[in-house]
Amino acid sequence: MEKLPRWADVILVPLICLVIAFVFCGILIAAIGQSPVQAIWIMIEGSFGSTTGLGYTLYYATNFIFTGLAVSIAFQASLFNIGGEGQATLGGLGVALACLLVPWPHWSLALVGSIAAGALFGAAWALLPAWLQAKRGSHIVITTMMFNFIAYALMNYVLVNLLRPLGSMDPASARFPVAVNLPKLGEILGLVGIPFSTKNPANISFLIAIALAVGVWALMWHTRLGYALRAFGKQEKAALYAGIDPVRITIYAMMLSGGISGLMAVNAVQGAAHRLVLNSVEGAGFIGIAVALMGRNHPFGIVVASILFGFLYEGGSQLAMGTTIPREVITVLQALVILFTGALPYMVQKPLEKLFALRARKAVGGAK
């Protein structure tokens, strides 16, 4: 009794949600006396018109792929992890420590080290909320939310009191050694003869994120752990019958989620900022929620949605530079996407279902 054809569920529903969100934002832009059509042109021109713009788009998209995949893994296990922000913050600390404390001879080794450290720190920050949910029944949404704020305070303390170089007023770490700088996407593409700007922060992390998306796909649908995770997410009680340990699965799912959130720092901290700043995550943890919802919790969908949001993010900056439209228009758009895909799915799905049922009936009637 699948009510919607799969393609409609996977493509049409998110697309309609997106269109509604765009229309609302268009009205908003018109309401503040600007031209929505001009705005969208500036955004497209800015994000895709040059390889520099495209590089920025892909840089942002990389962050969102990490956080989106993180949210989706927890979602699959029926856990709403809104702690991506805090987990990515801690991941940043791990990456920074790896880059600062170890004298890496080459970026490739540093990359391995920072991936391990980022994932470890991110996963560790998810561990306690996971354990509290599994063992004590503390609501994961509230605990992860609290851990976001605790992470921020902790990071503030670490940066101000421990990592701040002598004489600096900035709550930020020292710059990383040049040896740990990651190759830019432009440099890599240059090797295979594709001209691509290097005047943007896009780096090798984008390829890591794509590989990770494939990895997550294989994990969720082709491994025993992924099977157990999805089964637990669908029917917790039945998982017990099948011998799936709820405590373990909750902890595995959350640590995977936190670890992947932490990997975001490889892109943002090591790949772009080259030092640890207070707000290295810049809301990407939350955008992960929108991306996961819009991508229907599927790695492929998440990559597509991330690139879309990367475009919106970069486009938003271009808007702020080129017009008087503030970049927060993108926040509004993001809110609407979350609202329509995540909280109001029935509003789009139900009329669609009716439409498809009507069409099916007509088709049957026509055949008679």
């Binding site: 009794m1 491994t223 025993r224 669908k234 017990l240 019958y241 099948a242 011998g243 799936i244």
Partner: protein
């Protein structure tokens, strides 16, 4: 139609308390009620009996304003009444006691009773009035409920009485009870029936929905029988017999004969000693001991909620337990994370759970994923150390679907798209095809159509004939009688006794199920 030959008419010419004319209701393609006519005389206890899914609950939900009938008319006290919502039903003097109570757990009895029937915007006067009235009602009908008790501290039987009080406080003249004894102990059920008789004697009308013949025969004045959405007849209880009612219910002579060879028990497969299960601080299973040998079906009879589910769950590794279980001479863990479905399956125990939709299947998963459910670690479903072999699982599913005649035989269809019988076939196929030494099977035919019932019964017997052990739990006594080689009766978490199906009868088992050892059925009123 049999509905015209109404047999239970009272001498008075007063209008009926309730009269339904031509009620029909469908849910999509399923017609739950078809042209139902029924008349309930005032001041009687009227039974409505029928199998699961016969449409009894739908009919009562229409009467209580939960559903809108597609066609038909409702007369209350002789007046044509439209009941669009529960508020109107309450105004019309109809009260309903649902199978699952609608009580606020952390409220007191008093608060629950006045909820929705307050006198005004402030609570004080309502509470004072309700307290006095409650005490009066409680005395009058032997309800014995303290107004300040908090619901979650009360026994199930007392909670049900709170529901009755709620209805009475709202001045209900007509009280509908939906399967009221499913969750009650026999003593509580007897007390309930005493209360109902008291209500009738005060002039109230009671409608009792049940599928238990014994309750109908003992308690009601008239009884209407439903079958597959239609009303097949209404008779005076004193003028009918359980056999006649059963025939009306099922529509054919109840002959659940399963062909099977005589039992030849072999070695001992499972030994259970002092098995105890405690959930939420209540001991549900109280030191049960039993053994099952190869080549026999051990049937567990009992009213639902007397520890059978806990027995299955402890054996299946779902519930934590204490005691000892030995499978093929090896002791199995009962506590901690080692007591789980995986270790049980490794020990040769297969489990068809009582509730397939919440335990046995992941409803959103495809059939092939469900065939791997619980066996997702099995070596034949793995490609290598890292990845599962989904193709092998799909192929295996297609094979099992063919053997068990699952329709439609499409492995990629999600479990929720199959009918109850076909869902059950998927579960049974998954568990039996592994050739387990012991099969635990609970309510194998609940919500399953007749054709599938016979098929599933044959599979169970075939497994036993192949020299395997089967533990069968069922609340359907005839299923237990026709399949089992030995019968254990459970009551209140304990085993009341063992009987040989060849020499026992339903009456004897029924007494044991009611917690009575011995054969004097009149003793229970004492």
């Amino acid at each position: 139609m049999a509905t015209d030959t109404f047999g239970g008419r009272q001498a008075t010419a007063a209008p009926y308390a309730i009269e339904l004319k031509g009620i029909s209701k469908s849910f999509g393609p399923v017609q739950a009620n078809r042209d139902i006519n029924i008349a309930v005389p005032r001041g009687t206890i009227h039974g409505i009996i029928g199998e699961n899914g016969a449409g009894k609950s739908t009919l009562m939900s229409i009467l209580y304003g939960f559903y809108k009938a597609d066609a038909g008319e409702v007369f209350v006290g002789g007046h044509l009444t439209v009941i669009p919502d529960s508020q109107s039903a309450i105004r019309a003097g109809i009260g309903m006691v649902f199978q699952h109570f609608k009580l606020v757990q952390n409220f007191t009895v008093l608060e629950n009773v006045i909820l929705g029937a307050e006198d005004g915007p402030l609570l004080k006067s309502s509470l004072t009035r309700a307290r006095a009235e409650l005490e009066a009602l409680s005395r009058e009908y032997d309800l014995d409920v303290h107004p300040d008790a908090v619901i979650e501290d009360l026994s199930v039987g007392h909670q049900q009485r709170v529901e009755i009080l709620k209805a009475l406080y709202r001045c209900a003249d007509i009280l509908i009870l939906d399967e009221p004894t499913g969750v009650l102990t026999p003593e509580e059920a007897d007390h309930l029936f005493r209360i109902l008789r008291g209500l009738r004697d005060q002039g109230k009308t009671v409608i009792l929905i049940t599928h238990k013949l014994r309750e109908i025969m003992e308690t009601t004045d008239n009884v209407s029988v439903m079958r597959r959405g239609t009303m097949v007849g209404t008779v005076r209880t004193t003028e009918t017999s359980p056999e006649a009612l059963a025939e009306l219910m099922v529509g054919r002579k109840v002959l659940l004969e399963v062909e099977k060879r005589p039992c030849t028990p072999g070695r001992e497969i499972l030994r259970v000693e002092g098995l105890t299960v405690r959930t939420d601080g209540v001991v549900r299973l109280k030191g049960v001991s039993l053994t099952i040998r190869a080549g026999e079906i051990l049937g567990i009879a009992g009213v639902a909620g007397n520890g059978q589910s806990e027995l299955l769950e402890a054996l299946g590794g779902i519930a934590q337990a204490t005691g000892q279980i030995t499978m093929n001479g090896v002791e199995l863990p009962l506590k901690g994370h080692k007591a789980n479905g995986q270790t049980r399956r490794a020990a040769g125990i297969a489990h068809v759970p009582e509730d397939r939709q919440s335990l046995g299947l992941i409803m959103d998963f495809a059939a092939w994923e469900n065939v791997g459910f619980g066996y997702h670690n099995a070596p034949e479903y793995q490609k290598n150390a890292l990845f599962m072999d989904n193709a092998a699982l799909k192929a295996d599913t297609a094979k099992k679907m063919a053997t068990f005649d699952v329709r439609p035989p499409i492995p990629t269809l999600s479990a929720k798209s199959f009918s109850g019988g076909n869902q059950q076939k998927i579960v049974v196929a998954r568990e039996i095809e592994r050739n387990p030494d012991l099969l635990l099977i609970g309510q194998p035919t609940r919500g399953v159509d007749i054709g599938a019932i016979e098929f599933i019964h044959k599979q169970i017997v075939a497994l036993r004939d192949a020299g395997k052990a089967v533990l069968l739990v069922s609340v359907e006594l005839d299923e237990i009688m026709s399949l089992s080689d030995r019968i254990l009766v459970m009551f209140d978490g304990k085993i009341m006794g063992e009987r040989d199906p060849a020499t026992t009868n339903e009456r004897e088992l029924g007494l044991l199920m009611a917690g009575m050892v011995g054969s004097d059925s009149t003793a229970k009123e004492a």
